[in-house]
C-alpha cells in the first residue's frame, strides 16, 4: 500500500453491492486516493440479488463480486469483520467494535438494510431465521437439513424468493401473508391472485390475511404458529421476510439527519447533513424515499464518486419498476400499478386458461401510460416501460399494448424515446447520454461507442444504438454514412456488386481498388462472406484465412474458455445408429461434453484447437461433414417425421428436408439461414419460425419466408401455396440468392424483409413474376454454388498448409494450461475462475 500524504483518505463503511460499486467506480475514475473498505461481514462484497441461487448450487465463491486480491491490485485496503460502532465527525475517525481506529477525509456509509422481524412472541427461537446474507443462507441450509416443513412470513418479492429457496431445499413450503394478496406493493388484487394460483400449482401453500400472534412448541412439527383468527400452522422452520429497515444506527449515533421512519437523509450529491459524510444504497433516504433495489443504489454510488472527484452527475431519483421471474412465473410491475393517481383509467386483459393477467394504467387525459401490471407474460414490459418513463403518446388503441392478438405490439423507433430512455443497460447509457456525446463532437457510431461505452457489453443494444445515433446525426444535418466501416465507403450491397462486376477475388485487391487502411473485424468478414457467396472458394486459403472470424478460421465455435465446439451436419435431423455410436465414441475418446442442440443435431464441446483436426478426421472417415455451425451460412433444416411414419403426415417431410439441406449446405450469406419442413399443418418442425419454412399440404408445399426465432421472433410470411417440388426449389434458389446479394451484413432474412421497400409483395414480384428480370441469373448463381460445394473440414484435413494453423503454440506442443475442466453430471464442463484458483479442476488431458 502506498500512502502518499496528499491523497484524500476515503473510508467506506459496509461492503455490500452498493459499497463495492462505489469502490469500483472510484478506482476507475483514476483519481488517486487512499481507500479503506470496512466490511461488517466476514467476507467481501457478493451478489445479494442472486442470493437464492445458492440453493440451486451456487457457492459463496460464485456469488463473490470481488476478492482480496482484486482489491489489493486496485490499491484498496479492505478489512473484513470490521463492524463500525462509532463515528467521531470532529476528529474524522471511525471506530470498529474491536477498537480499531480509521481516519478519513471523506466517509461513505453504505450500510444497507436489515430484515425486519415482527415483534411476535417466540420469534427468537433457534429455527426462526432471516434471509439477507450468506451467513443467513448457511443457517437456513443447516436448519432445513433437520426440517420437513418451512414457513415464510411475508408474501412480498423477497418472501417469495425465500419460499422458492425453501422449496429447493426440499421442504413442504408455506407462505403466510398479512395482506389479502401476494406482492401487494407491486401487484393489484387480480394480479396477486393470478400469481397465487400459479405458485400454489407449484406446490407452495399460500395463506393470506393471517396475522401471527405467537410461536409456540408444536405437536407434529417443531413449532406451531398461532394466528389471530384462531387457526394455526405447524412448521419446523420459520423464515421472516416481512420487509427491510435501513441500517441507519451509525447516522443516529452521530447525529446525522434521519427520516421520520428511518434512513439517513441525503441530497442529490448523496451527502448527509455532514458534508464530509456520504450515504448511498439502502441506508440512504432521498426526498423521503428509500430505494430497495440495486440499480438506484448504483446510481447513488456514481453520483457520490462524481461529487468526490469533481465530475458532473447527481442522483435524480430512480424508477422502481420491476420485472422478475419468481419460481418460473413472470411478473412485472411498472409505475402506478394500483391506479392510485386521481382519474387514472385502466385496461385489463385476463386470460385464466393461459394464466396471463395484464393491466395497463393510463392518465385521466388519456395521453400516456402511468402504470402496468403483468403476470404470466412480461413480453410487453420493455415497451410499456419506455412508454411510461418517457411519456410517449399513447397509440390509437391503447389496449393494443397489452392484447396478445396481432402480435404487432407497436415497436418503438428511436425518435419516440425520451432522453432518459435506457439504450444500453450493461453500461447504463441513456439516450440523453448519447445525444450529449454527439453534441460534444462524437460524429460517428464508433466515437459514440468509445465515449459512452454503449454497446460494448453484451451487445444486445447494438441495433438500437445505431438507430439512435443515425437518427440524431440526421437531425443535425449530417449525412449518415451507410458505409460498412472506416475502410470502405460502400454498403455491403455495393461491395457485392463491385466484387462481382470487377471480378475481384481477394481482399487485398478490393482494398487497393476501393478502400483505405488495413481493414478491420467488420469489413474483413463481410468481404469474406461476399467472396464466398460469389465465388465459393475454400475459405482457408492463405488470402482468405486472415479475413475470417475465429469461428470460421478454426471451423468451430469458440467457447468462453477458448475451446471449440464440434457440430457435424445431420441433414434433416436423420441419423443412423452407427453414426450415433461414432459420435459417442469420438466424444469419449477426446473427453468432450455432449449435448443435443436446438437444431436437431449433436454438439461436442471442449475441443482444444490442436485436437480439432484429429477429431474431424475420425468424423469425416465415418461419413460426417461439417455442419457450418460456426458460419454465417445454412445451418440446419429441421424436419418432423412426416408421412413415412406419422399418421397425419401428408408429404414426406424428412426426404424434403434432407434434399434441401444438401442443396443449400455451404451457402454463405450475410447471416445464418435456417429452414424447417413440416409434414402437415400441425407444424411439429416449427417451420414458421425459420428463414425458410415449408409446410406440406395435400397438393404440395406451402412456402413461408423470413421467419426468425432468437432475440426478436417473427412469424414467417406465407409466400406461395401448394407448390410442386420444382417450383419450390426455384423460388428458394431465387430468394436466398437475392438475399445474399442485397442484405446488409449480419442482417437475418426477417430484418431484411422488414427493411425491403415494398415488403412481401415486392419480394413476390421479384421472385414469382421476375419483375427485375434476374430470376434465371439468381438460379444459375445458386447452381454454381451447389456444384462447387466442398466439405471444409475434409479439405482442411487434407491440406498440410491449413493444418498448421491448428495449434496453440508455434514453438511447443503444450496445451493451454488455462483450459481446465471439472466433472458435472458425468461429463466435463469448464472450471470456473474460483475452481481454477482452488485447483479442484481436472487438468487438461493430452489425448
Amino acid at each position: 500500500m502506498t500512502l502518499s500524504s496528499q491523497a484524500q483518505r476515503i473510508v467506506i463503511v459496509g461492503n455490500g453491492m452498493v459499497g463495492h460499486h462505489f469502490v469500483e467506480q472510484l478506482v476507475n475514475s483514476g483519481q488517486s486516493c487512499d481507500i479503506t473498505v470496512l466490511s461488517g461481514e466476514s467476507r467481501l462484497a457478493y451478489d445479494r440479488v442472486y442470493l437464492s441461487s445458492y440453493f440451486s448450487g451456487k457457492t459463496a465463491q460464485d456469488l463473490a463480486l470481488t476478492d482480496a486480491k482484486t482489491y489489493q491490485d486496485w490499491g484498496v485496503n479492505a478489512v473484513t469483520d470490521a463492524w463500525v460502532t462509532e463515528i467521531n465527525p470532529e476528529g474524522k475517525q471511525v471506530i470498529t467494535k474491536t477498537g480499531d481506529v480509521y481516519h478519513y477525509d471523506k466517509l461513505v456509509l453504505s450500510t444497507g438494510s436489515y430484515p425486519f422481524v415482527p415483534p411476535i412472541p417466540g420469534n427468537d427461537k433457534p429455527h426462526c431465521l432471516v434471509y439477507r446474507t450468506i451467513d443467513d443462507l448457511e443457517a437456513i441450509s443447516a436448519s432445513a437439513a433437520q426440517s420437513r416443513v418451512g414457513v415464510v412470513v411475508g408474501g412480498g418479492l423477497l418472501g417469495l424468493e425465500a419460499a422458492n429457496a425453501l422449496k429447493q431445499a426440499g421442504l413442504e413450503t408455506h407462505v403466510v401473508e398479512f395482506a389479502p394478496q401476494l406482492m401487494a406493493v407491486q401487484l393489484d388484487l387480480p394480479g396477486g391472485d393470478m400469481l397465487r394460483g400459479k405458485i400454489e400449482s407449484l406446490g407452495v401453500q399460500v395463506h393470506t390475511q393471517k396475522a401471527t400472534t405467537e410461536i409456540v412448541d408444536g405437536e407434529q412439527c417443531r413449532y406451531r404458529m398461532n394466528f389471530g383468527d384462531d387457526t394455526y400452522l405447524e412448521t419446523d422452520l420459520i423464515l421472516f421476510s416481512a420487509g427491510i429497515r435501513p441500517s441507519d444506527q451509525l447516522g443516529r449515533l452521530t447525529g446525522l439527519a434521519l427520516g421520520e421512519r428511518g434512513g439517513i437523509v441525503i441530497n442529490n450529491q448523496c451527502q448527509t447533513s455532514d458534508p464530509d459524510i456520504y450515504a448511498i444504497g439502502e441506508c440512504a433516504l432521498w426526498q423521503n424515499r428509500i430505494f430497495g433495489l440495486v440499480a438506484p443504489g448504483y446510481a447513488m454510488a456514481r453520483a457520490a464518486v462524481a461529487h468526490l472527484t469533481g465530475q458532473q452527475g447527481e442522483f435524480a431519483g430512480a424508477d422502481m419498476s420491476t420485472k422478475l421471474k419468481l419460481m418460473g412465473v413472470e411478473v412485472g410491475s411498472i409505475g402506478d400499478a394500483h391506479a392510485r393517481t386521481p382519474g387514472a383509467l385502466v385496461y385489463t386483459y385476463h386470460n385464466q386458461p393461459e394464466g396471463v393477467y395484464k393491466k395497463l394504467v393510463i392518465d385521466a387525459a388519456r395521453e400516456k401510460v402511468i402504470g402496468a401490471v403483468l403476470v404470466g407474460d412480461t413480453s410487453d414490459y420493455d415497451v410499456l416501460l419506455q412508454y411510461a418513463l418517457n411519456g410517449i403518446a399513447l397509440p390509437q388503441m391503447p389496449e393494443s399494448l397489452i392484447l396478445p392478438t396481432g402480435g404487432e405490439a407497436p415497436s418503438l423507433g428511436a425518435d419516440a424515446l425520451g432522453d432518459s430512455a435506457t439504450i444500453c443497460s450493461c453500461h447504463n447509457v441513456s439516450k440523453g447520454d448519447i445525444v450529449g456525446a454527439i453534441d460534444a463532437g462524437c460524429c460517428s457510431l464508433g466515437k459514440v461507442k468509445s465515449s459512452t461505452k454503449a454497446s460494448t457489453g453484451c451487445g444486445g443494444c447494438t441495433a438500437l444504438l445505431k438507430n439512435v445515433v443515425d437518427s440524431e446525426l440526421e437531425k443535425r444535418g449530417v449525412e449518415v454514412s451507410k458505409a460498412i466501416c472506416e475502410h470502405f465507403n460502400y454498403t455491403r450491397q455495393e461491395l457485392y456488386h463491385l466484387i462481382q462486376v470487377e471480378e475481384i477475388h481477394t481482399f487485398d485487391e478490393l482494398l487497393v481498388k476501393h478502400g483505405t487502411g488495413m481493414g478491420c473485424d467488420i469489413c474483413k468478414p463481410a468481404a469474406a462472406s461476399v467472396f464466398a457467396s460469389v465465388w465459393n472458394d475454400y475459405i482457408l486459403t492463405r488470402e482468405h484465412q486472415p479475413l475470417q472470424d475465429t469461428n470460421d478460421t478454426y471451423l468451430g465455435n469458440m467457447q468462453k474458455d477458448g475451446t471449440y465446439s464440434v457440430v457435424p451436419r445431420v441433414a434433416g435431423g436423420e441419423i443412423t445408429p452407427d453414426k450415433l455410436i461414432l459420435l459417442g465414441d469420438v466424444a469419449k475418446r477426446y473427453h468432450l461434453y455432449t449435448k443435443i442442440t436446438g437444431g436437431q443435431r449433436i454438439d461436442l464441446f471442449g475441443a482444444r484447437v490442436e485436437q480439432l483436426p484429429a477429431i474431424w478426421e475420425e468424423l469425416v472417415a465415418g461419413g460426417f461433414e461439417t455442419g457450418h455451425a460456426y458460419a454465417k451460412a445454412l445451418r440446419t433444416v429441421k424436419s418432423c417425421v412426416g408421412s413415412t411414419w406419422c399418421r397425419y403426415g401428408v408429404q414426406d417431410s424428412v426426404t424434403k428436408a434432407i434434399d434441401l439441406e444438401n442443396r443449400y449446405k455451404g451457402l454463405r450469406a450475410p447471416h445464418k439461414i435456417k429452414f424447417a419442413v413440416s409434414g402437415c399443418t400441425r407444424e411439429c418442425a416449427e417451420a414458421q419460425s425459420k428463414d425458410i419454412g415449408i409446410i406440406a399440404t395435400e397438393k404440395g408445399w406451402n412456402l413461408y419466408v423470413c421467419g426468425n426465432g432468437g432475440m426478436k421472433p417473427r412469424h414467417g410470411d406465407l409466400f406461395a401455396t401448394d407448390l410442386n417440388d420444382t417450383t419450390l426449389q426455384k423460388y428458394i434458389d431465387r430468394i436466398l440468392m437475392f438475399y445474399a446479394k442485397t442484405a446488409d451484413r449480419l442482417q437475418r432474412t426477417s430484418v431484411w424483409m422488414e427493411n425491403l421497400e415494398g415488403g412481401l409483395s415486392y419480394l413476390q414480384d421479384v421472385i414469382i413474376n421476375d419483375c427485375l428480370g434476374i430470376g434465371e441469373e439468381l438460379e444459375a448463381q445458386m447452381q454454381r454454388i451447389t456444384d462447387s460445394y466442398q466439405c471444409e473440414w475434409k479439405t482442411t484435413i487434407e491440406s498440410p498448409d491449413a493444418l498448421k494453423r491448428f495449434r496453440q503454440f508455434v514453438n511447443s506442443d503444450a496445451a493451454d494450461s488455462n483450459i481446465q475442466f471439472v466433472a458435472e453430471r458425468d461429463q466435463i464442463r469448464p472450471a470456473t475462475r474460483a475452481e481454477k484458483r482452488t485447483e479442484k479442476a481436472i487438468p487438461v488431458e493430452i489425448v
Binding site: 476507475n28 483514476g30 464508433g446 461507442k449 468509445s450 461505452k453 460494448t456 451487445g459 472506416e486 475502410h487 487502411g517 488495413m518 481493414g519 478491420c520 473485424d521 474483413k524 468478414p525 492463405r542 484465412q545 486472415p546 479475413l547 475470417q548 472470424d549 475465429t550 469461428n551 478460421t553 478454426y554 469458440m558 468462453k560 474458455d561 477458448g562 484447437v609 494453423r805 496453440q808 503454440f809 508455434v810 514453438n811 511447443s812 503444450a814 493451454d816 488455462n818 483450459i819 475462475r833
Partner: protein, 117 residues
C-alpha cells in the same frame, strides 16, 4: 508479480519468420508466458508485434486468434470473444480504459523471431 524486479529481460528465440502468418496471428510459449505474434503486411511494409495472449475481458488465452485491422492509424487486434480492440503497439484497449495487455519487444535476426521478456 513483485519478484519481477529481479528479472533481467532476455531475448528468446521463438520461431522462424515463416511460422508467422501474414495479416494474422500465431502464439508462442515463452517461459510459461503465452505471447501472441502478429505479422502485418501493410503499405508501410511488414511489421511484427508481440503482445500477451491473455484476453483480460474474456479471461482466456485467445488473442492470437483475433482479426487484425486498423482504427484510424492504430493497428489493432479484435478479441475473438467479445470483440474489444487492443492497440498492438501499446497494448491499450480501445473500448475500455480499465484493461490492457502486456506488449513485448520483438525483433528478427537471420530469419528467426526473437521476443524479449
Amino acid at each position: 508479480m513483485q519478484a519481477q524486479a529481479s528479472f533481467t529481460p532476455k531475448w528468446h528465440d521463438v520461431c522462424d519468420i515463416d511460422d508467422l502468418v501474414t495479416n494474422s496471428g500465431v502464439c508462442a510459449l515463452v517461459e510459461d508466458q503465452q505471447v501472441a505474434l502478429f505479422l502485418t503486411g501493410g503499405e508501410e511494409g511488414k511489421q511484427i508485434f508481440a503482445i500477451s495472449n491473455w484476453d483480460p475481458v474474456g479471461q482466456a488465452n485467445v488473442l492470437y486468434r483475433g482479426i487484425l485491422g486498423t482504427i484510424s492509424t492504430d493497428i489493432v487486434v479484435a478479441s475473438p470473444l467479445y470483440k474489444e480492440h487492443y492497440v498492438l503497439e501499446t497494448g491499450k484497449c480501445v473500448e475500455r480504459n480499465d484493461v490492457s495487455v502486456a506488449v513485448f519487444p520483438v525483433r528478427v535476426d537471420s530469419q528467426r523471431v526473437l521476443v524479449q521478456l
